[in-house]
Amino acid sequence: MLQTPHRPAVHEEPGQTPFHIAGRTLNSRLFVGTGKYKTYDLMRESLNASGCNVVTVAVRRERLLNEQGRSLLDFIDLSKFTILPNTAGCFSVEDAVRVAKLGRDILEQLGHEGSDWVKLEVLGDKKTLLPDPAGTIEATRQLAKDGFKVLAYTSDDPIAALRIKEAGAACVMPAGSPIGSGQGVLNRSNIVLCLELLKQSDPNYPVIVDAGVGSASDVSVAMELGADGVLLNTAIAHATSAVMMAHAMRHACIAGRQSYLAGRIPRKLYATASSPWEGTISYIPGE
């Protein structure tokens, strides 16, 4: 009988070093959102399949109707996953700061390890969900001053990214493309420039590509460029098979990181044969 070869666990995979970010140490470099799933059960299965350690959540009004509903947290094992609240839906500095503080209070109530981090979004436009650069910088400044570890969602503009880091962000998260658009990394050059500028003074400064991921290969692309991690939601939640896509994302993140660490070959215009010319029995045209 064929023996199944031993498949290494994530932390046993070559090159998979722990990810240090905002005072935490993570094994997985995938951050996965909890939104848009058809059911909470599907969400739970997908999060497990993804192997992620961190899940993002939103902060919203309680429904005042006395509904017999199960809540999100009933489906997230807090001993396995760390929650990262976001400020999604905020279009002003004031609103983002309010939501961040509310999220922190909830995490404190849950006794959740490390309640002080937040995924900051200060949006500029509802249709594109592009970030407001000035608002993001100012909100980062205010929240960092209040003790938050800010993981700031931004565009792939390298200077905006740098200003956000200078404002005190613990991590900058440039978008590959608009949230939920599935276009992947649209401007690889800009992501490389973001990485260069952000890591110039500190090679370990965390940079996560967040937004726009559409498929597993998009995750690999981001990791191959040198990103420390990738954050995604829609690509899993709205895939035809969310659980299958979560598995794919898990592999893609590992593969992309290994590819980056391995050091790729350069791109060339002309071919270089992989088999030797010497000793061929064939007729080679032109010789």
Partner: protein
């Protein structure tokens, strides 16, 4: 007195505490954060903070999001 809770006007007992309001709305089981007039009321103050006529309250919890 009349206050606004999550965008809706409601009549509640005078000087009701944040905690009592949360219980009254049956929101006490899960973790719920409160804001009064755009300022966070931390959990440790829910039992002592009393509300006034016209206060605008937000009661929030965690939901799915990206």
């Amino acid at each position: 007195m009349t206050i606004t809770i999550n965008g809706e006007e409601r009549k509640v007992d005078n000087a009701i505490t944040v905690r009592a309001l949360i219980e009254m709305l049956d929101l006490g089981k899960a973790a719920c954060a409160a804001e009064v007039n755009k300022t966070l009321v931390p959990r440790r103050e829910h039992d002592s903070r009393r509300l006034n006529e016209g206060d605008v309250i937000e009661l929030v919890s965690l939901v799915g999001g990206g």
